[in-house]
């Protein structure tokens, strides 16, 4: 009797501890997802223009899942201490539903991240950067975003300045090839925003133009966002799996 009492108490203790960790992780997940949603990084207009908002949907789901995990962990602690079969059954079922939602959020974030290839951004940039047809607000946003991106990260194009040479573009329609082999923002600029050496930039002399592509600068924040949601959610779910298995075992051992 005493031995099984000890085992019971150890199991209860473990389950309470597991639920406390789940509660704290739920709060952390909510905080992280609120940060991502409310603080869009500089390349957000480019993502919005791809008309695929899954990464943000995943973050929104993460907010609500985090709050649900916190609430359910409290329910779980009460159910374990009181050893109540009904409470624990409700806890297990609601936790499984939350598990399913969080699983969907992780997979969505990871899949959307995979779809953001360099080709996608290249095509978008060529077709919409400095597009002169009036009336499209998102084209202006894209142009402004690219200008800032190239200025701040000292880069040019997605893979390099040769992007502007290998493909025709909306930019090429309004800027002839001899005067503008690539946009002026690709040149090394001085404090006034003018090219240090315009001829050197047009020729492509090393040191007067930015020779690397901007894809790294774009994929950095996007990766942080996607993997922050996906991998943290995955870790929480692994821990939740263990706690739920323990709870099921505990539940089946309660007399009623």
């Amino acid at each position: 009797m005493a031995k099984s009492d000890d085992c019971v108490h150890i199991l209860q203790g473990l389950l309470v501890f597991g639920n406390v960790v789940i509660g704290m992780c739920g709060i952390a997940l909510t905080a992280e997802c609120i940060y991502f949603v409310s603080n869009p990084h500089g390349v957000y207009p480019l993502l919005k223009a791809t008309e695929n908002n899954d990464i943000y949907a995943a973050a929104w789901i993460g907010i609500f899942v985090g709050l649900a995990l916190f609430a359910l962990s409290i329910l779980g602690i009460i159910g374990v201490i009181k050893a109540s079969r009904t409470l624990l059954l409700v806890y297990i079922i609601l936790m499984l539903i939350t598990f399913a939602f969080e699983m969907a959020s992780c997979i969505t974030a990871a899949t959307h991240r995979d779809s953001l290839t360099p080709s996608l951004f290249l095509k978008q940039m060529l077709e919409r950067y400095q597009r002169s047809e009036p009336g499209n607000n998102s084209d202006n946003e894209i142009t402004k975003t690219w200008d800032e991106l190239m200025l701040q990260n000292h880069c040019c194009g997605v893979l390099g300045p040769s992007d502007w040479q290998e493909y025709t573009s909306a930019f090429r329609l309004t800027h002839n090839d001899a005067d503008y082999p690539w946009p002026r923002k690709c040149c090394v600029l001085d404090a006034q925003g003018l090219p240090v050496n315009l001829d050197g930039c047009k020729l492509g002399v090393p040191g007067y133009y930015n020779s690397n592509g901007c894809y790294d600068a774009i994929s950095g924040p996007v990766n942080t966002h996607a993997w922050g949601v996906a991998w943290f959610g995955f870790a929480i779910l692994c821990w939740t799996f263990c706690v739920l298995l323990g709870t099921m075992f505990y539940w089946s051992g309660i007399e009623y």
């Binding site: 050893a83 573009s169 001899a178």
Partner: protein
């Protein structure tokens, strides 16, 4: 004897010196804009036209197939060599006028000495500027050579360059944005989470199916804290009552 001598000298006076130099695209430093869709970059002909201080050195740009039929006596700045009428009907034009003073020899180390063919866009349509260095109208191929003229007499020329092909740009709709497959991380997350979820669902089903049956209980069954207290209370009363009767 004077006559044969004069006859020997006359052809020599009219012959053009063929210099052993071939115009090349600039190799050092490596230039990103070496060849674009309408321009290309040549090395300046330094230390090539030694001895021709009075000559004007012109660049002749010709279509590849018209290079062999170019007439050296065609004057620059005439309609036969006007840039604005290139490539049809004029198959070759002359531009980038310079003298030996523009190409000092030897070349100072560290200086970038190039000629950008096609850089003047302002005069490309201006018929009054037939020697315009305007952007090339098509991808080519083109061949170039340098020609030195004294007055209107050609005195020296370089060899024709290798054919130069310009870039042709593709349309952005040819970029395929189809999914290139999924990363390892995404596949790991999906499979592992699916397996975990399946195990949990199986556990839930097992729990509900065996609700009430003692098959998993047995020795590990434990009691609720309240029922233990109640039993002790009962035991206490049972022992008390016989004692009270006695």
């Amino acid at each position: 004897t004077m006559l044969p001598l004069l006859l020997l000298l006359l052809p020599a006076a009219h012959a053009i010196v063929e210099l052993q130099y071939k115009p090349v695209l600039t190799q050092t430093p490596p230039l990103e804009g070496l060849i674009t869709a309408s321009t290309f970059v040549l090395d300046q002909p330094r230390c090539v036209f030694g001895g021709y201080e009075n000559a004007d050195i012109w660049l002749v740009v010709a279509l590849d197939k018209a290079a062999s039929t170019f007439n050296n006596t065609a004057g620059p700045g005439t309609p036969e060599t006007a840039f604005q009428r290139f490539p049809d009907p004029v198959p070759a034009y002359m531009t980038l006028n310079a003298t030996l003073a523009n190409y000092p020899c030897p070349k100072p180390a560290g200086d970038i000495t190039v000629l950008r063919v096609g850089s003047e866009t302002s005069c490309a349509q201006d018929e009054a500027r037939p020697t315009c260095n305007g952007p090339l109208p098509g991808p080519g191929p083109y061949r170039v050579k340098f020609l030195a003229l004294e007055g209107s007499e050609p005195v020296a020329e370089t060899a024709w360059s290798e054919p130069i092909m310009l870039r042709t740009a593709k349309s952005p709709s040819s970029i395929s944005t189809a999914d290139r497959g999924h990363s390892a991380g995404m596949i790991a997350i999906t499979t592992i989470l699916s397996i975990l979820f399946a195990i949990l669902l199986a556990g839930l089903v097992a729990m509900l199916v065996f609700w009430g049956s003692d098959s998993c209980g047995g020795s590990s069954t434990f009691s609720k804290p309240e029922s233990v207290t109640v039993r002790r209370y009962n035991t206490h009363h049972v022992y008390d009552q016989p004692a009270a009767r006695l």
